[in-house]
C-alpha cells in the first residue's frame, strides 16, 4: 500500500482549519481560523493561499467557486473541502504530533500545554 502524502507543520494547521470550518471554509475564514490556532503569531493571507494551492495540487483538498455575493463586490468565494487523502494525512500528522507531545510530557514531567503557557527562551529563563 502506498504511504499517505506527508505534510509540513503549516499544511497540518491549514488542513485542520479547513476541517474545523466544514462548509464555511474559504480564504478569509480559513485565515482567521489559522490565526486563532497559532495565536499570538500571525500569518499573511498570501501564505494561506499558497498552501491551499499546494494542498489541492497534492490531492488533499478539493475546491469550488460559490455563487457571487454583493458584499464581495459581486465575486465568488473559493470553498475548500478535505479529500479522503487529506483526512488521512491530517490524522497521521495529528497522531505524530500527539506522540511528540506525550514524549515531551514524559521528559519534562509536566503538562505540555501548561508548560507552553509559561515557556520563555533559555536566555530569558
Amino acid at each position: 500500500m502506498a504511504l499517505p502524502e506527508s505534510i509540513g507543520q503549516f499544511e497540518h494547521v491549514v488542513l485542520a482549519a479547513v476541517l474545523a470550518l466544514a462548509d464555511d471554509a474559504y480564504g478569509v475564514t480559513i485565515h482567521a481560523k489559522i490565526e486563532e490556532f497559532i495565536s499570538p503569531r500571525s500569518v499573511s493571507l498570501g501564505a494561506v493561499y499558497a498552501t491551499l494551492d499546494r494542498l489541492e495540487d497534492k490531492g488533499l483538498l478539493k475546491s469550488w467557486l460559490s455563487d457571487p455575493t454583493p458584499e464581495r463586490g459581486g465575486r465568488s468565494k473559493r470553498h475548500y473541502r478535505l479529500e479522503p487523502a487529506g483526512e488521512r494525512a491530517l490524522r497521521d500528522a495529528s497522531v505524530a504530533a500527539k506522540r511528540i507531545c506525550d514524549d515531551l510530557e514524559r521528559i519534562w514531567g509536566e503538562d505540555v500545554w501548561t508548560a507552553g503557557q509559561r515557556w520563555k527562551p533559555a536566555r530569558q529563563a
Partner: protein
C-alpha cells in the same frame, strides 16, 4: 466583528483596478473577493494586497511552470544568446530577462497556448522580458549589453521555442489537477476534448517529422566538410537519426476517431488512445533519446581528436557531453512526468466509464 464592506466602504476604484491587474486571472475572482470582504480602509487594503500578491504569483508560477520546461527554455535561450554574444554575462542577463517574460506569461494567461496566435503572444512576452533586461543592463552595466549580432542568432532560438511550444502546449505549464480529474459529463464535451487531442497530436507529429527532415538535410553540410572520418560517420548517423524520427512519428500516428460514436464507445476509444500515447511517452528514452547517442558521441570524439591534433583544450568536448547528458535527463524526466499526468487522466476517465 463584521468585516463586510458596505457600498460606502469599498476600496477606491484605482487601487482596486491595480490590485486586480496584479493578481493572475486564474485566482483573481476569489482573492479580490476575499480582499474586499476584509476591507476596512484603503491603507489596510493596500497592505493586505501587498502581503498576498507575491505569494499568489509565486504559487501560480509553481502551478504553471514545470522545472523541465524552464530548463529546456533556459538551455535553448542560453545556447542562442551565448553563440550570438560570445560572452557569458551578457548572455546570462538576456536569458534571465527572456525566461522571466515566459514564466510570467504562463502564470498570467488563461489555459494553454493552443493556437499559433497564442504561441506568438507567448514569444512576444519573452521578447519583452529580453528588452526589459537589456534596458536594466544599459542603465546599470552598459558594458554587458548584448551585441546587435546576437539578436540575429536569438531569432533562431525563438524560432525553435515557437515550434516547441506549438508542438507541446504544456511545455511551459503543468496541467491543473482539477482539470485532469474532471471527466467530461456530456458526449459533446468528450468529443470536443478528443478532437482537440487529435488536432494537437497531428500538429506535434507534423512538426517533429518536418524538423527531422530539415535536420537531416542540414547535417549533410558538416558531413561533407568534416575534417576526419569519425566525425563524418557521426554526422551521417545524426542525419540517419533525424530521418528515422521523421519516419517513426509518421508511422505512430493514429487515424482520427470515427464520427457518430456513442458516449461509451468514444470514451473507450479515447482511453485507448491516451494509453497508447502514455506508452510512447514512457518509452521515449528507448526510441527517441537512445538512438541519437552514437552519432553525438562520434561527433564529439571526432572534434576531440581534431582538438588534440591542434593542441587545443579538451574541456569543450567534456562540457558538450555533460550538456547533452543533462538535456537527455531533463527530457526523460519531463516525459515521465507527462506519462504520470496521462495516467491520472486515464484513471479519471475510467471512473467516468464505470
Amino acid at each position: 466583528m463584521d468585516r463586510r464592506p458596505t457600498l460606502e466602504t469599498r476600496p477606491p476604484g484605482l487601487i482596486d483596478a491595480v490590485v486586480r491587474t496584479l493578481i493572475p486571472p486564474a485566482c483573481r475572482e476569489h482573492i479580490v473577493g476575499d480582499l474586499w470582504e476584509r476591507y476596512r480602509s484603503p491603507w489596510q487594503f493596500v497592505l493586505d494586497a501587498a502581503r498576498a500578491i507575491p505569494f499568489v504569483i509565486a504559487s501560480q508560477i509553481r502551478r504553471t511552470s514545470t522545472l523541465a520546461g524552464v530548463v529546456i527554455h533556459a538551455f535553448l535561450l542560453f545556447v542562442s544568446f551565448g553563440v550570438g554574444a560570445g560572452r557569458l554575462w551578457p548572455a546570462i542577463a538576456a536569458v534571465s530577462g527572456a525566461l522571466l517574460g515566459f514564466v510570467l506569461r504562463d502564470a498570467y494567461k488563461c489555459g494553454f497556448s493552443i493556437s499559433v496566435k497564442q504561441v506568438a503572444i507567448d514569444l512576444l512576452f519573452g521578447a519583452i522580458g529580453l528588452v526589459a533586461s537589456q534596458a536594466i543592463v544599459a542603465l546599470a552595466f552598459p558594458g554587458q549589453l548584448l551585441p546587435l549580432r546576437a539578436y540575429a542568432v536569438c531569432l533562431a532560438g525563438f524560432g525553435v521555442l515557437f515550434l516547441l511550444r506549438l508542438q507541446n502546449p504544456n511545455l511551459g505549464a503543468a496541467v491543473p489537477r482539477q482539470a485532469l480529474t474532471l471527466a467530461p459529463a456530456t458526449r459533446e464535451a468528450l468529443v470536443t476534448e478528443i478532437r482537440l487531442f487529435e488536432r494537437m497530436s497531428r500538429r506535434g507529429y507534423r512538426i517533429e517529422a518536418g524538423t527531422g527532415v530539415a535536420l537531416a538535410g542540414f547535417f549533410i553540410m558538416p558531413l561533407v566538410n568534416a575534417p576526419n572520418w569519425v566525425m563524418r560517420i557521426g554526422w551521417a548517423l545524426g542525419a540517419a537519426y533525424a530521418l528515422y524520427v521523421a519516419v517513426i512519428v509518421t508511422r505512430i500516428q493514429a487515424p482520427p476517431m470515427a464520427d457518430g460514436l456513442e458516449f461509451e464507445a468514444a470514451l473507450a476509444h479515447y482511453r485507448g488512445e491516451l494509453e497508447r500515447r502514455r506508452h510512447q511517452v514512457q518509452t521515449l528514452w528507448r526510441w527517441y533519446l537512445l538512438p541519437i547517442v552514437p552519432g553525438m558521441l562520434l561527433i564529439t570524439a571526432g572534434a576531440t581528436i581534431e582538438a588534440a591534433k591542434k593542441g587545443r583544450s579538451l574541456w569543450p568536448a567534456l562540457v558538450m557531453i555533460a550538456l547533452m547528458a543533462g538535456m537527455g535527463i531533463v527530457i526523460h524526466l519531463s516525459s515521465q512526468g507527462w506519462a504520470r499526468t496521462l495516467r491520472i487522466r486515464i484513471d479519471a476517465l475510467g471512473s467516468r466509464a464505470q
